[in-house]
Symmetry: C2
Amino acid sequence: MTAPAPKPKESLQETLQQVVRILNRHKLVESLVHKQEMPRHDLVETIVHKQNLAELESRLGQLHPADIAFVLESLPLEDRLTAWSLVKPEFEGDVLLEVSDTVRETLLADMDRAEILAAAEHLDTDELADLAPDLPQDVMSELIGSLEEEERAELQSALSYADDQVGSLMDFDMVTIRDDVTLEVVLRYLRRFEELPNHTDKLFVVDNDQRIKGVLPIKKLLITDPELEVAAVMAHEVVMFRPDEDAGEAAQAFERYDLVSAPVVDSTNKVIGRLTVDMMVDVIREEGDAEMLSLGGLKEDEDLFSSVWRSARNRWPWLAVNICTAFIASRVIGVFEGTIQHLVALAALMPIVSGIGGNTGTQTVTLVVRGLALGQINQASARRLIIKEHAIALLNGCVWGGVLGVIAALLYRDLPLGVVMTAAMVLNLQVAALVGLLVPLTMEKLGRDPAYGSSVFLTAATDSMGFLIFLGLATIFLL
Amino acid sequence: MTAPAPKPKESLQETLQQVVRILNRHKLVESLVHKQEMPRHDLVETIVHKQNLAELESRLGQLHPADIAFVLESLPLEDRLTAWSLVKPEFEGDVLLEVSDTVRETLLADMDRAEILAAAEHLDTDELADLAPDLPQDVMSELIGSLEEEERAELQSALSYADDQVGSLMDFDMVTIRDDVTLEVVLRYLRRFEELPNHTDKLFVVDNDQRIKGVLPIKKLLITDPELEVAAVMAHEVVMFRPDEDAGEAAQAFERYDLVSAPVVDSTNKVIGRLTVDMMVDVIREEGDAEMLSLGGLKEDEDLFSSVWRSARNRWPWLAVNICTAFIASRVIGVFEGTIQHLVALAALMPIVSGIGGNTGTQTVTLVVRGLALGQINQASARRLIIKEHAIALLNGCVWGGVLGVIAALLYRDLPLGVVMTAAMVLNLQVAALVGLLVPLTMEKLGRDPAYGSSVFLTAATDSMGFLIFLGLATIFLL
């Protein structure tokens, strides 16, 4: 069984439109039947109905599993399940692997035990391991029971690692060779394979105990005199990974050294699996997404079509924290109500002080989060960075705070008010720089995701401190 | 010339530490000489000095160019240039390709014409094209002059495409074959190469006019009977790209179909270049970074060690816009100063209304930007999305607005105030949802980056409208 070839990209959106059109026709027929406006034309209805579904099935049948996944992700729930029921069983496993986690849940929820087992049949153990967290417990047990011993061991090994560890991403499909044979022998050996594993750009050279001794790049194998021995041709310096390493760091190594595949070895250098660039690309994409989502205060990837209730819950944790910090900032203002009553201009000016603080602080947070992700911030550079960010904050405070101070003084014809405004800006930007630096750096030191929550802490600080500094200075100097 | 093998990742940070230590020793000696505290020990100083530099040079000599790039990016400017002067000339070109744009500028600024020309000598035309925008005009002309005709044509072709087009990322190094020969002939042909291009996972099968007819995957070539003809073995369905296509979309295709390399063809299907996964990985990383940076209001990638002045300028455009919008919001409050004077509690409560609006709107913006990047938002789904986001906003407004209304009513013993608070929250969250959806969707329609600026427009709307709605309702119902 080979999957249909990928569609040229231009036509993917077009295909999606066609699928949507067929689905709309299908729903129209259904709704007519439902309203019983076609009671006597059962036969016609049934034929039209069947034609629609058959057309949809044939369209989907021409798609690469990754394209089916894209179409399913772009459809609302009801349509998605109609389309899903028409996907060929032998592609169902691949499609499940390609869709996002939230969409996968909706698809699995629609499948019964037998369907899931049938879909899983076509998958490798490392792919099964990817699906495992979303499968019902009893289906999983039955699946494990149906595997051969070696596969079961592989599956259990893959399942024993966390999502962000190399071990959870490795596959077990690879070609190993000995170093005391000639390339001719290797070429003959390869010809006995029915298929080589995907992304095989190098063969792993191992000793009798499966310990890695080197790698033989395919491009070397192809250009070298076949009479030579593997030992004479192989590369000894191998970029390899351990299963408990961080997947993000492995992805950075793939990126830095332009790797296509690399061996995963245990503590005795025994080859236990393989990493390939396609998995690493997913890691890079997911890390970027996760950073962006967590800076935006979203817990997880949202299915664009998941229910209002579910989406709202995804957004609530952050919102709740934000309401608390907004409430605290509000109480800070509450303390100064007397001052504001005296000089109501303060009420109009205070959001500027807090807002600009939040804005500059967010810029600092963004750069620090990025620098940490790229591993460019170490102890020595952190000190420099702190000095630099405070210097920028001082510059910004003087320049923009000065401008706003002049405007405030002119607007309210009140020079001291302008001076207080400028002073408050200078001080609050220092707060923003400090918090913008310390929060992500501290989160990182505590082993947490430096992006998540940084923005909440930052806004809490720049709001509350902004109001406190501005209204405090005003109380002291203007009343 | 082959570059040293990549370092195992664990030791990269360690290497960096060692380099920093040597550089610190070096600077100590320099400063002692400078202060003339070692006037008579010239000889000793010179020896120590030379030893330090020699040690540093040998350390750098053991590093893969990508690792040298990492070390240089992690060093402050002065140290960076000291280290840069010790990098072997034959690796300088590769290092320049690996470092970020801003760091590259600092390195090139330190090189004279001859050095740049020497570094460029070791690069392919597609790599030269990557460096071109940063090279001085006269150096570039001289370089172009020194190329052979074919290379010059390639370089000019690569330079004719924008940064985000496939054409600017393709390389020209590839293996093409005819379909009427046997695999045996292909294998013999390959053996005549001194080296195969990196990431050669398939050979491009072309006709006499270089038009693509199919591809022969290396893994097929290795397992198939060598007596067979290419035509019988090759794959006819080829994922290929045009040079004017969007690089981001090509990267998504690489990701979706797990590609390692793919041909780039012109309008007559003539093969003119090749895309490889390593370039696509960079595109994916850069797109994620750019989205994150532009959501954070930063124009470009910042060198962590660039000058305060330069960094400040990078952040000013956004800051300036933000100050304008903050000022407008402030003027909205100014209009209601009379109301606030009457009921000063409003001053304390209004930042909550605007703040929560900004927060929920940012969540919407983040999801829409992401959905657009993944191509999952189309006309039909956009309508659904708008309904859904408004429903979530209504839910959030009622729930959280209700909670805050009760708190406000209890705190100030003023039931109408609580009701106004809740009503303002409900309305402002609708504004947040609307703006959070429309701004990125409109930016996308106008062909702009949907992330850039979305956040400014959003905050402008949620602040100004939040104050207007809350203070307006209060003026009408509470005075």
